[in-house]
């Protein structure tokens, strides 16, 4: 016999189910209960950098938009600093870097307003291109899916990004690049997520 390691096991994941909004975005479920819902303001009023909107849909294996998804975004500020005690540097007052969005029940469209993040120092001194980390849960998703949103207009930084470069198939790298456009003077990035099929989005085991 050998000695026994005394690690605990992580609590297993379960689907967020169809009523995830009740717990995490009750206003969308149709009732007011909390003074403050969390995650609707990612950047706050004082954040430096370019104000952007990110929009998309999440598409299932049949090609239909999923209408009961919740997404959470986690990003650095324009200087590449995360609002977290372990990340060196300061963020602007009111900058949280975290957001929670749910899809429209009729169309499956989601969107959030924020600032464009700056490049973030990665492992071994390799700079990572600007990106927003995304976590996706829904009915039928047994464990939350992690991916990253990169930006079309950062071609040079994207080409050098250590995470994008881990993706062996160049075609699949494109699934992480949000398309930039302008609407009524507002910069809008489009990021559609495909759960299955030819252009399945790259998901990470982090």
């Amino acid at each position: 016999m050998v000695q026994k390691l005394d690690y605990l096991k992580e609590t297993p994941s379960q689907t967020a189910g169809p009523y995830v909004h009740i717990g995490l975005a009750p206003g969308a479920a149709g009732f007011e209960i909390y003074e403050k819902e969390l995650g609707w303001d990612i950047a706050g009023p004082n954040a430096k950098g370019e104000r952007i909107r990110v929009e998309g849909i999440v598409i299932d294996g049949i090609g239909s938009p999923i209408k009961d998804v919740m997404l959470e975004a986690w990003q650095a500020n324009a200087d590449g600093i995360y609002a977290h005690p372990e990340h060196p540097g300061e963020v602007e007052e009111g900058f949280r870097g975290w957001g929670r969005v749910i899809t429209d029940f009729e169309t499956g469209e989601w969107g959030f307003d924020t600032v464009k993040p700056g490049p973030v120092m990665g492992r071994s001194g390799k700079m990572m291109a600007p990106h927003i980390n995304l976590w996706i849960v829904a009915r039928g998703i047994n464990i939350g899916l992690n991916t990253r949103i990169y930006f079309e207009d950062e071609a040079e930084a994207n080409a050098a990004d250590p995470v994008i470069n881990l993706i062996e198939w160049e075609r699949r790298r494109a699934t992480l690049i949000a398309k930039r456009s302008e609407r009524d003077g507002q910069v809008v990035y489009r990021f559609d997520v495909k759960l299955q099929g030819e252009d399945e989005t790259v998901f990470f085991d982090i």
Partner: protein, 242 residues
């Protein structure tokens, strides 16, 4: 010097796989390519933090947080309590735990829920709380009812409370469900059974905790939650690389 490093690799065999045909909705919502394994960077070892300004003290009392003054939710009054720990057995303090559930009749307060059990006017169905310095949390609520759902013709969810936990990093983010000891529906549930290992399924079943009950008032169940643990880097740490 011991410094906090990466989080332990997630044991994907302990968690449910993405595609579990007995839970039908997963079939078209499960990625088919392998996940790309990432060594963690600042993007993964950081995550949102919350404080007492974000929530109200009544938020963890689901019996009252949506009730009219002087009223309370109908149902079996229970306390659900426990600790949030990491895989090293250390408490995770000041972390946000959010919960949502059906009412005692098995009905959700949601515009998409059309089950014929009635809405309880004094029950909202969601709560949230921060763990204390020892990683401890508690909710007061009513025991949720079982409810039918469309999967096979005749499927009923065991009584359950959905729980969302943050930890200290985006890589610890977790949503799960808490079930209750002794419920015969647990073993029959295709969602419970997405988890392949019986011991892992057992980790989601809260134990009746007579020591935590309030006599003549409220029953109690204990539900500990374990988040991913973290390596201490004993030698050179290349995580930040500078």
């Amino acid at each position: 010097m011991r410094q906090p490093g990466e989080f332990y690799q997630r044991d994907r065999e302990w968690h449910p796989p993405a595609k579990t045909p007995d839970y039908k909705t997963s079939v078209t919502r499960s990625p088919e390519y392998s996940l790309l394994s990432l060594q963690q960077s600042a993007s993964e070892i950081t995550g949102p933090t919350f404080g007492h300004n974000d929530i109200d003290p009544i938020d963890n009392d689901m019996i009252h947080n949506y009730a009219q003054p002087g009223e309370s939710a109908i149902g079996e009054r229970i306390i659900v309590h426990g600790r949030v720990l990491d895989e090293n057995g250390r408490p995770v303090p000041n972390t946000l735990v959010e919960a949502w559930q059906a009412n005692a009749g098995g009905r959700y307060r949601h515009k998409k829920d059309t089950y014929l059990a009635p809405i309880d006017p004094n029950f909202g169905g969601c709560g949230r709380v921060l763990t204390d310095e020892d990683g401890y949390y508690f909710f007061r609520t009513v025991k949720p009812g079982a409810y039918p759902w469309r999967n096979w013709v005749n499927n009923w969810r065991p009584a359950h409370i959905h729980m969302s936990i943050f930890g200290t990093s985006f890589s610890q983010r977790l949503i799960t469900q808490c079930y209750f000891e002794g419920d015969p529906l647990i073993a029959k549930c295709p969602i419970v059974n997405t988890i392949p290992d019986q011991a892992a399924r057992g980790q989601l079943i809260a134990a009746l905790d007579m020591n935590a009950t309030i006599p003549l008032d409220t029953m109690a169940y204990k539900f500990d939650i374990v988040l991913r643990g973290r390596r201490s880097t004993l030698f050179e740490n290349r995580l930040e690389g500078n």
